[in-house]
């Protein structure tokens, strides 16, 4: 009874935690509540599970906690998305292992009562084992691919085999067949276990083959979706071992993860199906290595003079700002401008950077006032009043092709109307296309000036020049 009540309390903490995580003021408290719920759930489980081998349990918890804490401290803010992917993958792997570890010692015993399908109890149990292995394995390798793409260990470009959808469908069918074989046909533990091992291998392959064809720019959505999967894998593992708290928390994360994925897709004006099956940019109609003509470049000195005369400057941060760690330099730059009587605003595209909200986190780190961060819908009408738009390492989110070129792979994605500013200064490391690998017409416009260099270096130079004016 006490155990049930404590588990209920843990579940309640998860619910309030998630709820509070969705609002700025209470988010931190929400996270802490959820963490408390987790600690409670772990302790309760350790106490009520009989015949637990304490040494291994405590050793495992300490080891995992140490690695997790170390990684969380060490990771840079710019690498947050891939870190979340990695953590999520480990969660999936854990669920897959739980499924197998549950199957091995019990298969023989349960089979002595006949096929798993003969009893409702064992049928549900076996399906739960299969699902935790399948979804967990898929989450594991899928997250690893997302990690590798974001870390740029492998190309961010969509990579698909010919007939990729067909191959995936085939693998899916194989999963169903193997599940039926294990459920109703095989009667020896050896065969059933072999079945599940095959399922594990297929799920690992599926994780890769489902994620590889999705472009790097869509990885945040993929991570969010995989996050939902790992919740579902957890819930399945909960059925397998008969732990209600695991079923509750897993199902909750699974469902809210889908909603969050939908919200993210909406910010990019895409549907989930479009992200998963679209092979974003794979055919590259107008994108790719198109040559740029008639671009004009400028120097920090020239640019500083433009800023000196400006009344309203809008800064558009992107991933380039994140990699260069330029947020503090930007803060100084904005202070200098404000001293000169120029109003400074920041245009925050919901998916600038490598994941939604990425820019808010970085700029907050540099103590940039929250009121100056303006979201896309509000800022888009401001650009026409702006003297200068300074684009710091953003690319796809300011590409006018999304509005004008129906052939562009990003057509329809809401973008920032930077081209309406009197002058656009585009800070970029090189002429390379952005993360999505799409040509940006903005560079060729009459009022666009290119300023090449690392974002931090460029902004520091601008600061120097401004001080001298």
């Amino acid at each position: 009874m006490l155990i049930t009540l404590l588990n209920l309390l843990a579940a309640a903490l998860f619910i309030f935690g998630l709820k509070k995580l969705a609002s700025v003021k209470t988010a931190r408290l929400g996270n802490q509540l959820a963490a408390a719920g987790m600690a409670l759930a772990v302790v309760v489980t350790m106490v009520h599970v009989t015949e637990l081998s304490w040494v291994y349990a405590i050793l495992g918890i300490l080891l995992g906690s140490a690695v997790g804490a170390y990684a969380a401290q060490k990771v840079q803010m710019t690498q947050m998305p891939q870190m979340v992917a990695l953590f999520n993958g480990l969660g999936g792997l854990a669920s897959a292992f739980v499924g197998i570890a549950e199957l091995l010692p019990k298969a023989q015993l349960y089979l002595s009562m006949g096929h798993f399908s003969h009893h409702q109890q064992t049928a549900i149990w076996f399906v739960a084992v299969v699902l935790s292995v399948l979804v967990g394995g898929l989450t594991f390798t899928g997250s690893l691919v997302a990690f590798a793409k974001l870390q740029e260990l492998i190309s961010g470009k969509p990579m698909a085999l010919p007939q990729q959808q067909l191959i995936n469908a085939g693998l899916g069918i194989a999963c169903v067949v193997l599940t039926i074989l294990g459920l109703a046909i095989f009667s020896s533990a050896g065969w059933v276990i072999t079945c599940v091992m095959f399922l594990l291998v297929i799920s690992l392959v599926l994780g890769v083959s489902l994620t590889m064809p999705i472009g790097g720019a869509d990885m945040p959505v993929v991570i969010s979706l995989l996050n939902s999967y790992s919740g579902i894998a957890g819930a399945a593992a909960g059925f397998a071992v008969g732990e209600p708290i695991l079923v509750i928390a897993g199902a909750m994360v699974g469902a809210s993860g889908i909603i969050l994925t939908q919200i993210m897709c909406k910010a990019m004006n895409r549907s989930i199906a479009n992200v998963i099956f679209g092979g974003f940019g794979a055919e590259d109609s107008s994108g790719g290595g198109g040559e740029y003509k008639n671009t004009k470049s400028t120097s920090a000195e020239e640019a500083a003079m433009l800023f000196d005369a400006a009344q309203l400057a809008i800064i558009v941060p992107g991933y380039g700002l994140a990699v260069a760690q330029a947020q503090h330099a930007v803060r100084e730059f904005a202070n200098l401008l404000e001293k000169k009587g120029c109003k400074v605003l920041y245009a925050i595209h919901p998916v600038a950077g490598r994941m939604p909200g990425h820019m808010n986190v970085l700029l907050a780190e540099a103590n940039i006032p929250y009121e100056q961060l303006v979201e896309m819908d509000q800022i888009n009408s401001e650009f026409k009043n702006a003297d200068i738009a300074l684009v710091l390492g953003a690319n796809d989110v300011v590409n006018p092709a999304a509005k004008t070129d129906p052939k562009s792979p990003i057509y329809g994605m809401p973008v920032l109307n930077v081209e309406e500013a009197r002058t656009v200064i585009m800070v970029k490391r090189s002429m390379n296309p952005g993360f999505a690998g799409i040509k940006n017409e903005l560079f060729e416009l009459e009022n666009t000036l290119m300023l090449f260099g690392d974002a931090k270096k460029v902004v520091s130079d601008l600061n120097e020049q401004l001080k001298q004016l």
Partner: protein, 92 residues
């Protein structure tokens, strides 16, 4: 089993209802926080470790690995989320 199924379905509905409006600022932390909660599978890993104690050394090994992996997910996830959120809070 029926109870678990009922809990499962109710929790799915709860999850759908819980999150409806999220400011883009919080997309990343929310995802990361939810991700940490999905590390709840550590509970399953502990339960599997107990089952596996009755022989089956390979099962025990797998369950042990699962505890480690899930704990990395949990502790890393919550701490990373907190690091992100700390930045929003301090400038009040």
């Amino acid at each position: 089993m029926e109870m678990l199924l009922a809990l499962f379905v109710l929790s799915i509905f709860l999850g759908f209802e819980l999150i409806n409006k999220v400011p883009p600022t919080l997309h990343t932390p929310l995802m990361s926080g939810a991700n940490a909660i999905s590390g709840i599978t550590v509970v399953g890993a502990l339960a599997a470790l107990a089952v596996a104690t009755k022989g089956a050394p390979f099962s025990k090994f797998l369950a042990f690995l699962a505890v480690i992996a899930a704990m990395i997910n949990v502790v890393g996830g919550f701490l990373v989320t907190d690091r992100m959120l700390k930045m929003f809070v301090k400038r009040k």
